[in-house]
């Protein structure tokens, strides 16, 4: 039984089929890349997996349990955490408090606020924000906010982590650092489904890649297979990457 | 054309009442004088030194939705106090001297909660021996209860609500016609003024405001209409503040109603008349209590405001001692004779002054008893009180005629005969 199983997932907005009959599996401990042109339905897929949107049709099973139709606030305690393409920090709270929310409400939540604060400090250290703990999130830079969001999701002790364009807006060097961080997360047995436009990064990290175009899955395979797939080159990668 | 009127400058001590009153009398009982002024004389038990003033006070809605009523009430108090003080004050036997009145007026913004705190301040800081009332029953409800609680006699006008007098309050007195009087008066006056039975406006429409006073007055109208040979053809309720009377007017018109009885506040009152004009319904006789008490009624509505009658409790054409003087003072300040509510508020102070003089002391309970025993003639005519604090007073019927308020009842006081029947709006 696969860790996460997505079957025949569909979502339409009015007449637009944003996600159309998408099927794929994720095995425990893997990193799966999700790529595709702008507007191909990647974020929508993540929203469907986390209960932010209700699918028009299809099934999602997580650890053998159907999670479609569950309130989105129940996903995290079950072990699914996510980040957002457009970061959504709690602007008026401190960095530490941001992470504490994940700690207190996530899976396996902390016993007391004090304990939560302790553990949250560790999570901040892990993403390199230890010295920013008392700063308000609104005073952080975009990159710091992205790291904060990652720390927040990690604090919830997820088994499955969904990352939506964590590296957008980073220069290649910074993206490298982010890659290292993700590798490190994988060490702690967290399964990752990541959306990214930085082809190099996603190829380096992913065990398998799923490609969407206009809501449909057009390819799935190892990074090497995907890079050479003519259809993927045509709609997504362009000549430069061929 | 109406010009913006200046607001009266009352001869009160509005600006610094608190300080002035508190300083000398903080720890002493109301009637005592500051101990420091004179060393006590141990041997002779002489009369206690007299206070400099007899403190009285009022919390009046000078702003907010009842502001227009309060603005008529305040000058009545102010002029009466001035007249009394010009004559040296009130003779108080206990001190064997005349002591002037000092009136403190606060604005309660038409908010009963603020009125309560103002009343408490008057009691605690100014140590008033009596309260004067504000205006409108919303406000009196709160303030009379405070008077009762503090055991301070309270004289208030400009509310016709009778229910408030049925609570067993001992300190509340109101020299103002109540609904129980106005209900029967409506029809007895009509019958007395229109002797030819066939001419009487027997079909009655009642537009009743959804309020305690509205219900009280409406029920009394219904009851007394039947007793006097009238039929109520329409009796409808509307919420306070309504400005759309189309359906009521259409019903009354369809039922051929000849008399309109209503008690709308503003802005309902003017909206009612404007829509009656538009829908072409002219009752032969209309008694619209409250909204037309506004001095601007006629300038606002022009000829359409004529023929409407009211029960305001007073008119500046009354032939009682003191009315001329009051009108003159009012004329000097506001460029018109005294307003409807000014007379009754002037009378309150007259009644109070007489009671203090009769009591011969500033003890509140004695003053209260003296008020209860009032039997005198004031600017509103003869006044005596019933045990429940309501009064036996005249209930004059006033009518707008040619843009002026004329008194059409009682006959011996009347300034003009009743204009009846009202001609259709489009033929004025």
């Amino acid at each position: 039984m696969p860790f996460l199983q997505v079957e025949g997932l569909c979502k339409s907005f009015g007449g637009l089929k944003a996600v159309n009959n998408v099927t794929f599996d994720v095995a425990e401990g893997q990193i799966i890349g999700l790529i595709g042109p702008n507007g191909s339905g990647k974020t929508t897929t993540l929203n469907l997996l986390t209960g932010f949107l209700k699918p028009t049709a299809g099934a999602v099973t997580f650890k053998g349990e159907n999670i479609i139709g569950r309130p989105r606030s129940q996903m995290c305690p079950k072990g699914i955490a996510r980040t957002f393409q457009i970061v959504k920090p709690f602007l008026g709270l401190t960095a530490l408090e941001n992470v504490m929310v994940g700690k207190v409400y996530g899976r396996d939540s902390a016993k007391s606020l004090k304990a939560a604060a302790e553990e949250s400090r560790e999570a901040l250290t892990r993403v390199g924000l230890a010295d920013k703990a008392r700063m308000l999130a609104k005073d952080l830079t975009l990159m710091q906010r992205k790291r904060l969001e990652l720390a927040r999701a990690l604090a919830a002790k997820p088994q499955l982590l969904l990352l939506d364009e964590l590296m957008a807006g980073l220069n290649p060097k910074e993206a490298d650092d982010a890659c290292a961080l993700i590798q490190q997360i994988r060490q702690s047995k967290i399964t990752i489904l990541m959306v990214e436009h930085i082809v190099k990064a996603i190829c380096a990290l992913s065990d398998r890649i799923v490609v969407l175009n206009m809501g449909e899955k057009i390819a799935e395979g190892t990074p090497d297979e995907i890079i050479c797939n003519p259809q993927v080159i045509d709609v997504y990668l362009g000549r430069a990457h061929a | 054309a109406p010009a913006p009127t200046a607001t009266p400058v009352p001869p009160t001590k509005a600006p610094e009442p608190t300080k002035a009153a508190v300083a000398p009398t903080t720890a002493a009982p109301t009637t005592a004088a500051p101990a420091t002024t004179k060393p006590p004389e141990p041997t002779k038990a002489a009369a206690p030194p007299a206070p400099a003033y007899i403190e009285i006070g009022a919390s009046i809605p000078l702003t907010g939705k009842f502001g227009s009523l309060g603005q008529q009430v305040r000058p009545g108090y102010a002029y009466a106090v001035k007249d009394i003080n010009d004559a040296g004050g009130i003779y108080v036997k206990e001190y064997d001297k005349k002591i002037p009145l000092r009136l403190t007026v606060y604005d309660d913004e038409s908010d009963p909660t603020k009125a309560v705190s103002k009343m408490e301040t008057l009691f605690a800081d100014n140590k008033v021996v009596a309260y004067l009332g504000g205006a409108a029953s919303d406000m009196h409800v709160a303030t009379t209860a405070i008077a009762e609680k503090n055991k301070v006699p309270y004289l208030g006008i400009a509310f016709a609500l009778n229910a408030i007098h049925q609570k067993g309050y001992k300190y509340l007195f109101s020299p103002f016609p109540k609904s129980v009087q106005q209900g029967p008066d409506t029809f007895t006056i009509l019958n007395a003024l229109i002797l030819d039975q066939s001419q009487r406006p027997l079909k009655v429409a009642i537009f009743q405001e959804k309020s305690d006073w509205g219900a009280e007055q409406g029920a009394l109208w219904k009851e007394n209409a039947v007793k006097n040979g009238y039929t109520v053809v329409v009796a409808e309720e509307y919420a306070v503040g309504t400005t759309n009377f189309v359906d009521l007017i259409n019903k009354a018109k369809a039922a051929g109603a000849e008399t309109l009885l209503a008690l709308p506040n503003q802005p309902s009152g003017e909206a009612l008349v404007k829509q009656m004009v538009e829908l072409g319904w002219t009752p032969k006789f209309s008694l619209i209590i409250r909204a037309p008490e506004n001095v601007t009624w006629s300038t606002n509505l022009g000829k359409n405001g004529d023929y409407v009658t009211i029960f305001p409790g007073w008119h500046n054409g009354m032939k009682f001692p003191g009315v001329d003087k009051l009108n003159a003072a009012y004329q000097a300040e506001f460029k018109r004779p005294a307003d409807l509510l000014t007379g009754p508020s002037y009378a309150c102070v007259q009644i109070l002054a007489a009671a203090i003089e009769k009591a011969g002391t500033l003890d509140r309970d004695k003053i209260r008893d003296a008020i209860a025993a009032t039997n005198m003639t004031t600017v509103i005519g003869p006044v005596t009180f019933n045990p429940d604090g309501t009064a036996k007073v005249l209930d004059p019927l006033i009518q707008w005629q040619n843009g002026k308020l004329e008194m059409v009842w009682p006959k011996d006081q009347a300034t003009k005969p009743l204009a009846y029947p009202a001609p259709a709006f489009d033929r004025r």
Binding site: - | A1, P2, P4, T5, T7, T63, G64, K65, G67, S68, G70, Q71, S110, K210, E236, E237, Y238, A239, G241, T242, T243, N244, V246, D247, L248, N250, A254, Q266, P267, E270, A271, K274, Q275, V277, E278, L279, G280, A291, N294, V295, T296, T299, N300, L301, G302, N304, F425, D426
Partner: protein
Amino acid sequence: MLEALAQNLVYGILIGALYGLAAVGLSLVFGVTKFLNVSHGELLMLGGYASFWLFALWKVDPFISLPAAIIFLLVAGVVFYKLLFGRMVKLAEGDKIQNTLLVGFGLSLILQNLALQFWTADTRSITTAYSGAVFSFAGVRFPLVRVASLVIAFVLIVALQLFLRRTYTGKALRATVENWEAATLMGIDIQRVYLLSFVMGAALAGVAGALVAVGYSIEPAMGMSWTLKSLVVMVLGGLGSITGTFVGGIILGVTESATGFFLSLTYREVVGLVLFLLVLVFRPQGLFGVKEG
């Protein structure tokens, strides 16, 4: 029966047009500037008094003096904007709403009590020679001044709509609504856009006030209830939709009026508000609003 109902509906539409007009001014200002001007009702009152005094002192017909009322409110609008509201432009949206609400509250206290000092608490209204005039159609009476008010309100709304849709300035206004920074980068002077929408809102309030003085009556304390009514209508129609707001006003007017007819005059406003809430429950963005996000 049918005639009476028709008569009822006519009055519902006529008052609804005033609700709509008052709310459009508030909505325009809120939409563009995110200023929640709770002294809107007091601006309406000022318009009413302007019209009233022109009539009372110099017998200027209220419909002829409308431009004067507009100018008076334009000037007042500029003054209030320069003195008070203009300082809020740069704040974040939440702070802007909060601070303009506070300033509006203070301003409404001041205006209401200044009006009281200048003009006393007495109600005022305008009755012209033709005030009672009506024309009848199929047994239903159409009061002339009210119909004229409706026409004026309608013309103003259409003109405003054309202005916003067709002219460059109108487009600049709509652009500023969405993103003032991007609008600035188009070369739009957003300070001027804010000022413009604020004074246009004030002027619309002024016209509404003048029409209220003719059809109903005015007094210093009237502002609050008009502000509340305008807020409800603005949301009922849907933020950002001028026509929607106006239509929302008429719907509210008709609902209130019909309630009086079918149910009871005492629950007129209650049913209107219940309808409003039902609309919100089923269309959280209002009748004509666009769903956010």
